[in-house]
């Protein structure tokens, strides 16, 4: 029973992080129909940036955390501005190839600077953050990831629901032509969705780095897991991304615990294939409103 609880909590936390990073991916797709194959690299970048700030620059942890997020945000903005924007209006395959190219470039740069070894953060979370849940101890990092994740989720929820800029972003995802006709700065919306996606990716990178250690290959590999997550949740559903993430995280954790660790890496992709066969629009894909 303890073991089960442990796996459950493990899976939920991992899944939550997957879901959050998938959310960024979905956001870019919804606003500009771009599939971002460099998402895993954005995750890794956040983790390494935080590492550099904490260990090399010796900046206090909370400040490093915020600074990393800010830099990731700007980085996403810049990537859109200089790489994606010139390709607006070009066939989608060019844009996808561009993101694949960006992925290799970022990965190469990170390998160049940090190498392919496993790095770890110094102990940055106080042990007092751990929570005793019956017989199981939940380690501080899981508590932290849940708290941070929930904070982000509610902030974004509020942003998209109530702020003007959030509503403009949703309008572009909904009907780009109508948004243009009302003067919505569509390109700015694209840039903003890249910035936000990159920020969220960076945040998940930091937390995943605390849990599993920081390694270019592992972290950028998580970018691939975004695919089963978003296919499961529906490519265009932000809520679906979170739930898809939770399902994949739990599956992974339980397969790893009860069957075999090597299988746990494969399970998400087996699920992916099945979902594509049974429900190609995902469990929560938008059902087109047909009226009008």
């Amino acid at each position: 029973m303890d073991f089960f609880l442990q796996l459950l909590i493990n899976g939920l936390c991992l899944g939550f992080l997957y879901g959050l990073s998938a959310m960024g991916f979905v956001m870019i797709f919804k606003s500009s129909s771009v599939l971002n194959f460099a998402h895993g690299e954005l995750i890794a970048l956040g983790a390494f940036l935080f590492l550099a700030l904490v260990t090399w620059a010796g900046i206090p942890i909370p400040i490093s955390f915020l600074l990393t997020l800010a830099v990731c945000f700007c980085f996403g903005f810049i990537v859109e501005r200089f790489f994606l924007r010139p390709l607006i209006g070009e066939p989608l395959i060019f844009v996808i190839m561009l993101t694949v190219g960006l992925a290799s470039m970022f990965k190469g740069l990170m390998l160049l600077i940090w190498g392919g070894n496993l790095h770890t953060y110094p102990d940055i979370l106080p042990a007092s953050l751990a929570i005793q849940l019956g017989p199981v101890t939940i380690p501080p990092v899981y508590i932290a990831s849940l708290v941070i994740g929930l904070i982000f989720l509610s902030l974004f929820g509020l942003f998209f629901k109530y702020s003007s800029q959030g509503i403009y972003m949703r309008s572009v995802a909904d009907n780009q032509r109508a948004a243009l006709s009302l003067g919505v700065h569509v390109k700015r919306v694209f840039a903003l969705s890249w910035a936000i996606a990159s920020l969220v990716a960076g945040m998940s990178g930091i937390v995943l780095g605390i849990i599993n250690g920081i390694n270019v290959h592992n972290l950028s590999g998580i970018g691939l897991k975004v695919f089963p997550v978003v296919i499961l949740g529906g490519l265009d559903s932000i809520g679906g991304a979170i739930i898809g993430g939770l399902i994949i995280g739990l599956l992974e954790s339980f397969t790893g615990g009860y069957i075999s660790t090597s299988l746990s890496e494969v399970v998400p992709f087996i699920v992916l294939v099945f979902i594509l066969l049974i429900k190609p629009y995902g469990l929560f894909g938008l059902v087109e409103i047909e009226r009008v």
Partner: protein, 266 residues
């Protein structure tokens, strides 16, 4: 010429570099007027509006010849972001709501040209013109009726306080009573908000009733123009666009049918 707000001088529009749709269109719009643009399907009415609002660009269209002058500046081939900020807002054909946004959120998108400014008062103005929207504020636009949607998209444009409002077939597919209501509101907006309006319509009778001036378009050219009352009295217009006379009945009926068919694919 002080009173002219917008002037098209002999413009040509080409889509995808090869398909020429407008072949030398000239028209002038006076401040505070309602100008209606009528013509059969495929005449190029929508294209004319898009040339003005800058929405040709995303469709790979271009003004290749001629000039568009708005408030003494040339605006042809500018981006929609720029043109909307000059006060020109187009209400698209076929309504185009943001289906997954609520009515009120739809209206808030109309503030995009004035981001950061308070908008509560503008919402009140829109609800004042379209009280039918008030009880639907919180519901998704995707589930609204055609009449409500037409009010919604016009209200959405009104949020931007347009100096020049371009309306593309507002009466399309609406019941006669609703059409009447919509046209009454267009007239009021023109008089009370001081918006100049270009009204593209299939429903020529209604359009000429509220317009000051009218243009008739065929095959990418203006074939006739005049004060609305004169046009409405013109025998040719009567036959072809107002559906009076024997052959006119047949023609307009067929038009309406093929028109509907085309709309489904859009």
């Amino acid at each position: 010429m002080e009173k002219t707000l917008l002037q098209l001088n002999n413009i040509s529009v080409v889509y995808s570099d090869v398909i020429q749709v407008l072949k030398g269109v000239s028209l002038a719009v006076e401040k505070n007027h309602i100008v209606s643009l009528i013509g059969s399907n495929g005449a190029g009415k929508t294209t004319t509006l898009k040339a003005i609002s800058g929405l040709l660009k995303p469709e790979n269209g271009k003004v290749t010849d001629g000039t568009i002058i708005y408030e003494a500046r040339t605006v042809q081939n500018q981006s929609p972001e720029t043109i909307t900020r000059l006060g020109i807002i187009q209400v698209l054909e076929g309504r185009q709501p943001f289906k997954y946004l609520t009515i009120e959120e739809n209206l808030r998108v109309g503030t995009a040209t004035k981001w950061g400014e308070p908008y509560k008062k503008d919402l009140d103005i829109v609800y004042h013109y379209f009280p039918a929207l008030i009880p639907r504020r919180k519901s998704l636009a995707g589930y609204c009726s055609g009449g409500e949607l037409q009010m919604l998209v016009m209200g959405r444009a009104l949020m931007a306080h347009p100096k020049l409002l371009l309306l593309d077939e507002p009466s399309l597919g609406l019941a006669p009573l609703v059409v009447k209501e919509i046209f009454r509101i267009i007239k009021r907006i023109n008089e009370e908000q001081g918006s100049t309006i270009i009204l593209v319509e299939q429903n020529a009778r209604m359009a000429l009733q509220i317009a000051h001036y009218g243009y008739v378009m065929e095959n990418g050219k203006i074939v006739m123009e005049g004060r609305a009352t004169e046009l409405a009295a013109n025998p040719d217009i009567k036959e072809f666009y107002l559906g009076m006379g024997v052959s006119g009945d047949m023609k307009s009926y067929k038009d309406v049918k093929s028109y509907k068919r085309r709309k489904r694919w859009l």
